[in-house]
């Protein structure tokens, strides 16, 4: 056990012994280190002004991803490489191609969002040199700009992509050295204290099990995309906190199922799920912004028990199960049974979500829908997952789950009943659209009224049918960027 947090900050190795569970990376950068290029715009991971790159070791080597420094806890940066805008430069020591393009295309006005935007675009430039306008928009889902209307920023990103130069970039050139240094740091459990707060970083998943047996009431922090706000917005005490973002990253795919380690992020899960269940990909890209998807994990999204749930409505529809572990004991629960009521899940103290098991059913008709005020990076008003099985033109099974319609993500039993046993045709979906009103009594709030939620929930059955049926007219909006 080490009482020392180690990480790389730009070109420096940092070792800290005094770190509190609730210390954020952003405060550390701005206040302790006076690296003021990284800005605070909202302190809740929604505006992206605090975007930095986080380099971490994965099975396929060292990768760099944009993250929100405002809700990222410093303790969760152990054995990582933090890259801030101050470190960004071109091969000649001058402006980086991204920075140059932003200047040339007049991509900044007030300039406050600019360092964050530059860092997101840098992350994209490294990971997808050929990114087109659509990929650029996805990369910028977590960055707000109030001045430019984004047009010059997208143009700058396209120009920097065309310019190239990834091979000469500092983070490429130094990748092996950095990876070796990070590898050295990642050894054994780390425990930190400051002013009565405790932060524990387990060595591996067995160590996590042990830590939770010792501290059953500890707050488990994975991506911190929600717990971060407990601290920055609600000033909650999260000590002792166990940081697990680096654990349970395993993925196995067999004929019949995908097994995702609970620590797999949205960003890691999306391309994998796309290969096996293509219909869900667009939905996954609408969860949070890029930074949030780089931090948030599927397991924690489930364990968190949100009434909307992002992935749970979809996963319930797909028939997912989860593995819960306490000490050496594991149990397997159908995801829909994990959610008991608002704020209550089937998880005992000291128990944690270890794995998510998603059946693959190639013959199933699958869809995932998200309705929100703004298309990207918005909290859902209504989320829905559909999985419908057809045999000989008849609906033999239907699993339809909604988020945002009740205190928990929940199946629409009446609507399912209206479908099962019926011919796969419009009348069944009309009947289900009506029946779903019996399944839920949604709330009215600032995201949507109960009336709207009910109306949309019904219409999603009509949408599902239209998408499955052969029609000449488009049934979905087109978002692709034009010439």
């Amino acid at each position: 056990m080490k009482p020392e947090l180690s990480f790389l900050l730009n070109d420096q190795e940092v070792k800290l012994t005094e770190v509190g569970a609730s210390d954020t990376l952003l405060d550390y950068l701005r206040v302790a280190r006076r690296l003021t290029g990284t800005k605070e715009g909202c302190a809740e991971g929604d505006c992206g002004a605090c975007t930095v790159l986080l380099g971490r070791l994965t099975e396929s080597g060292l990768i760099y991803e944009p993250i929100n420094a405002c809700i990222r806890f410093l303790a969760s940066c152990h054995a990582c490489h933090i890259v801030t805008v101050e470190h960004l430069h071109g091969p000649d020591g001058g402006l980086h191609p991204i920075q140059k393009a932003m200047v040339q295309h007049h991509g900044s006005q007030c300039g406050f969002c600019t360092p964050g935007i530059v860092m997101s675009l840098y992350g994209l430039w490294m990971s997808n040199p050929q990114a087109g306008a659509t990929e650029i928009e996805v990369a910028l889902q977590g960055n707000l700009c109030r001045c430019t209307g984004y047009e010059p920023i997208v143009k700058a990103a396209l120009a920097a992509g065309a310019e190239g130069g990834q091979a000469q970039d500092a983070l490429t050139v130094e990748r092996e050295t950095v990876a070796a240094r990070l590898h050295e740091m990642r050894r054994g459990r780390v425990e930190l204290t400051k002013g009565g707060e405790r932060a524990i970083i387990p060595a591996d998943v067995d160590d996590l099990a042990a830590v939770l047996e010792e501290n059953p009431k500890a707050i488990i922090v994975a991506g911190a995309t929600d717990v971060g706000l407990w601290v920055t917005k609600f000033l909650r005490d999260i000590s002792p906190a166990v940081f697990i973002g680096h654990l349970m990253k395993g993925v196995t795919v067999t004929d019949g199922e995908i097994r995702l380690g609970a620590g797999v992020t949205y960003s890691e899960a999306a391309p994998l799920l796309r290969r096996h269940i293509p219909a869900v990909y667009d939905y996954l890209l609408r969860i949070g912004g890029w930074q949030v998807r780089n931090m948030g994990t599927i397991g924690a999204n489930i364990a968190n028990g949100s009434p909307i749930g992002d992935t749970p409505p979809l996963l319930i529809a797909l028939g997912a199960r989860i593995v819960l572990r306490k000490g050496a004991t594991r149990r397997d629960v159908a995801l829909e049974d994990f959610f008991i009521e608002y704020g209550k899940q089937d998880r005992a103290p000291g128990e944690f979500v270890e794995e998510v098991i998603i059946p693959i059913q190639p013959e199933a008709k699958i869809a995932a829908y998200k309705i929100s005020k703004r298309r990207d990076s918005d909290i859902t008003s209504v989320a829905a997952g559909f999985q419908v099985m057809i045999e000989n033109g008849m609906i033999t099974d239907a699993r339809i789950a909604f988020g945002g319609m009740a205190g928990i993500p929940k199946r629409a039993a009446q609507a399912e009943a209206a479908l099962i046993g019926q011919p796969f045709a419009a009348p069944a979906f009309e009947a289900a659209a009506t029946a779903v009103a019996q399944d839920f009594e949604p709330l009215s709030d600032w995201r949507a009224s109960a009336d709207y939620r009910r109306a949309v929930a019904g219409n999603l059955f009509r949408r599902f049918w239209l998408e499955q049926s052969e029609t000449d007219l488009p049934v979905r909006l087109k978002y692709a960027v034009g010439e």
Binding site: V103, L144, G149, V154, Y452, V456
Partner: protein
């Protein structure tokens, strides 16, 4: 001999801070080095929409770690008032009574910001709850009264013309407000000095106002207060008066404890405790003929002003000034109703009430068009002002250029064919419906408070030939400093790199106006030119004498000054001028000519000129969910002879997207306790990159020149293009109206959230 020089007027010069922006080296107030011993203030906000404070227990707050003290109304040495208009209706801290949920009641001072914030949450306030009204109609019904004097504009006899009109339509239109969502939140840092002195670094559009307010609250003369701002991370009107609170709290605390004090609210508190764009409910009536010609308009604009007047008087006035948008109303009577409500006091926001006038004019056009079964664009053309016609405030329109903009835009974007294609598409009856709309804007330029239309500048040329430029305007991203430097570079024919643009400070230019009303360049550019011309005149005199040349043969050419055929490098002239004891510093001044306005009679010429523009937007609407996408937008906008086409285009694009945000995804939502629940980017959604038009063509009307003698014949650009976003709103309305085969307009209230769109779809389907 001529040097290659960059950064002259009318060139695409990059923003002066662009490189600092992209490298993170541009300093905002929170990035400045902090003086030793700096402490932090954090506000405590009311948790009642209207109530008497009957008890306040700060014992836990004071016992919290790091806490130095609590600041309340009792600690204010001068006047507990930050009302910007002399009405004394807006306290720094609530004094006994709270008027909205989130009103500042006290501040906690502590060694760190986190300590101050945590301690502020431990205070226990007890309220005796009183009745409250949140929206303007409830306020009217409850007799809450006005926060400031209402205005009526009239010309002719609207009542008689309305009765005589062959057709009449009445309607009510709810128009939402908007949060500024400047990326850099409010912030101030006050450093105490000797005597009564205090220096304040603050994110503000109006340093002189901060100076005045702090002096007033501290009860010291204005000369004791220095206010500095190098740049803001966005303003949009949200830092025209709203920073006063933070500057005053920081200053009072700094003087009380004799330590530097910084105050920076969390985003949630910033959005809760500071004002926004006014929401309005408008009752309108239009009389028109069978050809779609407007005969009479009457209307009542009820505004949610909040608990105090702030800028609600001029904002609601400007709503009326733009209630005609670009259309001639032969007989008209329009009135404002600035309602007092138990909400945060609403304030300036890009357009300053203008958009809430313009959008009603466009609603009226739509009503007429649907009633007659015509394309609204036809009705727009038919009712455009002709030069010589009078506005409802009796100003003659003399610079109308919309017919040319319309013609170019219609051709450029193939409007007629695309409208037909939209109609054909909708006729197929699918779930995706389309809409297209062409809307204009005509926006009056000048502060309606005539005395604000003045500006000062200060230019120093140092003996090495480098130039320090200062003016009273503030930089919030709009490129003001760049444009003013271009004007000075042009005047001296020197490279822009020779000019250092310095922070705005009340020490250099006194009694400045807010950088607002789109007027920054018009006013400060002229003032800077005046200073440059003064120094140039002295240099001409000096060169003529020293190099023995007639004065009229002394010319400024790139990098040099010509004395007849002799070219003398600029540096050499300056060095020699210094040695010859020539005064190389000048203070410039400018006041806008020709304008006058008599509010009592509702007549005058409040605006020096008008800026024009038009946009065509096409949208697709999903009639199952109410979601939509902006397929394409085409804009032609008038900035006169552009000082910097790249920066101006950026203003047009940014304003367009901000305007669409106001009318689509940005929704302010209060709960039944009077709490604003959309108070952070998690709940209040401004447009993202993926919300901008899928095809976006923006052109400046490069043939336009200001008919008035403005700086280099340019026109103001900050606010006018904001209203082009209305074309998106109109297009969404058309797509929805297709559900009832265009028999009636969709009459969506703004913002047209997916929810509002779907509910309108369902209503029209029935």
């Amino acid at each position: 001999m001529k040097d290659e020089i960059r950064g002259l007027a009318h060139s695409d010069t990059i923003h002066d801070s662009a490189i600092k922006h992209v490298t993170g080296r541009a300093e905002y107030t929170d990035d400045l080095n902090e003086p030793a011993g700096l402490i932090h203030a954090y506000l405590g906000l009311s948790q009642s929409a209207h109530g008497m404070i009957t008890g306040a227990d700060f014992s836990e707050t004071l016992a919290s770690p790091g806490v130095i003290g609590v600041l309340t109304v009792k600690d204010i040495p001068g006047v507990n008032d930050i009302s910007p208009n002399g009405k004394h209706d807006e306290p720094v801290f609530a004094d006994g009574e709270v008027h909205f949920y989130g009103q500042p009641v006290f501040a906690v001072l502590a060694e760190t910001r986190d300590q101050a914030r945590r301690a502020a949450h431990k205070a226990k306030l007890v309220y005796e709850e009183l009745p409250f009204a949140l929206d303007p109609i409830a306020a009217r019904d409850q007799g809450m009264g006005y926060v400031t004097e209402p205005l009526t504009l009239k010309r002719g006899d609207a009542g008689a013309a309305m009765s005589a009109a062959p057709r009449r339509i009445k309607g009510r239109f709810g128009i939402g407000g908007q949060d500024h969502f400047y990326l850099e939140g409010q912030i101030a840092m006050a450093v105490p000095g000797e005597d009564d002195d205090v220096t304040i670094n603050v994110s503000t559009q109006h340093p002189s106002e901060v100076q005045h307010m702090v002096a007033h609250v501290l009860n010291v003369p204005s000369h004791s207060v220095v206010v500095n701002v190098r740049r803001m991370g966005g303003g949009f009107g949200g830092k025209e008066t709203q920073m006063n609170l933070f500057a005053c709290v920081a200053a009072v605390a700094a003087k009380k404890w004799n330590r530097a004090v910084k105050i920076r609210p969390d985003r949630d508190d910033d959005m809760t405790a500071t004002g926004k764009r006014h929401d309005f409910v408008v009752d309108y009536e239009v009389g028109f003929d069978d050809e779609g010609r407007i005969l009479a308009v009457e209307g009542d604009w009820y505004a949610r002003c909040g608990f105090s007047s702030d800028l609600s008087g001029p904002v609601t006035d400007r709503a009326l000034f733009h209630a005609d948008n670009a259309y001639y109303y032969p007989d008209v009577r329009i009135s404002s109703h600035p309602m007092r409500t138990n909400t945060v006091s609403n304030t300036a926001f890009r357009g300053f009430g203008g958009p809430q006038g313009v959008i009603v004019a466009e609603r009226i056009i739509e009503e007429i068009a649907y009633a007659l079964g015509r394309d609204p664009y036809e009705i727009r053309q038919k009712n455009l002002y002709e030069n010589g016609q009078l506005t409802p405030y009796h100003q003659e329109v003399t610079d109308q250029i919309l017919p040319r903009i319309f013609a170019e835009l219609e051709t450029d974007c193939d409007y007629q064919a695309r409208r037909q294609a939209v109609l054909d598409w909708n006729a197929k009856g699918g779930v995706i419906r389309k809409g297209i709309a062409l809307t204009p804007v005509k926006f009056g330029i000048s502060f309606t408070a005539t005395w604000f239309n003045q500006a000062g500048s200060l230019i120093h040329i140092y003996s090495d030939g480098s130039i320090a430029l200062n003016h009273g305007g503030t930089e919030m991203g709009q490129g003001l400093n760049t444009k003013v430097a271009q004007i000075v570079a042009e005047a001296f024919q020197c490279d822009i790199s020779r000019i250092k643009i310095t922070r705005t400070t009340t020490e250099k230019v006194p009694n400045t106006s807010a950088t607002a009303a789109s007027s920054g360049t018009d006013l400060n550019g002229m003032a800077a030119l005046d200073a440059a011309e003064q120094i140039k005149a002295r240099l001409v005199e000096f060169v003529a004498e020293r190099w023995q040349s007639p004065r009229e043969d002394v010319r400024f050419v790139p990098g040099h000054i010509m004395a007849g055929d002799t070219a003398i490098p600029f540096d050499e002239v300056i060095k020699s001028a210094y040695m010859a004891r020539i005064h190389l510093s000048a203070a410039g001044f400018y006041k806008t000519p020709k304008i006058h306005w008599d509010r009592a009679t509702g007549q005058g010429r409040p605006f020096y000129y008008f800026a024009y523009g038009a946009a065509v937007s096409e949208v697709s609407v999903d009639t199952l969910t109410g979601e939509y996408v902006i397929d394409r937008a085409d804009v032609i906008h008038d900035v006169g002879r552009s000082l910097n086409p790249a920066i101006d285009k950026g203003q047009v694009e940014g304003a367009f997207v901000q305007g669409t945000g106001w009318l689509t995804c940005e929704e302010l939502w209060w709960d039944d306790k009077g709490r604003l629940r959309t108070h952070a980017p998690s709940t209040y959604k401004i447009p993202l990159a993926s919300d901008r038009p899928r095809i976006f063509n923006v052109k400046l009307a490069d043939w336009s020149e200001n008919a008035e003698r403005t700086i280099k014949r340019s026109k103001a650009v900050g606010e006018p293009p904001f209203m082009l976003g209305i074309s998106v709103f109109e297009a969404i309305n058309m797509a929805v109206a297709s559900l009832a085969d265009y028999r009636e307009p969709a009459r969506l209230d703004a913002p047209a959230t997916p929810e509002r769109v779907l509910l309108a779809v369902e209503r029209l389907r029935r």
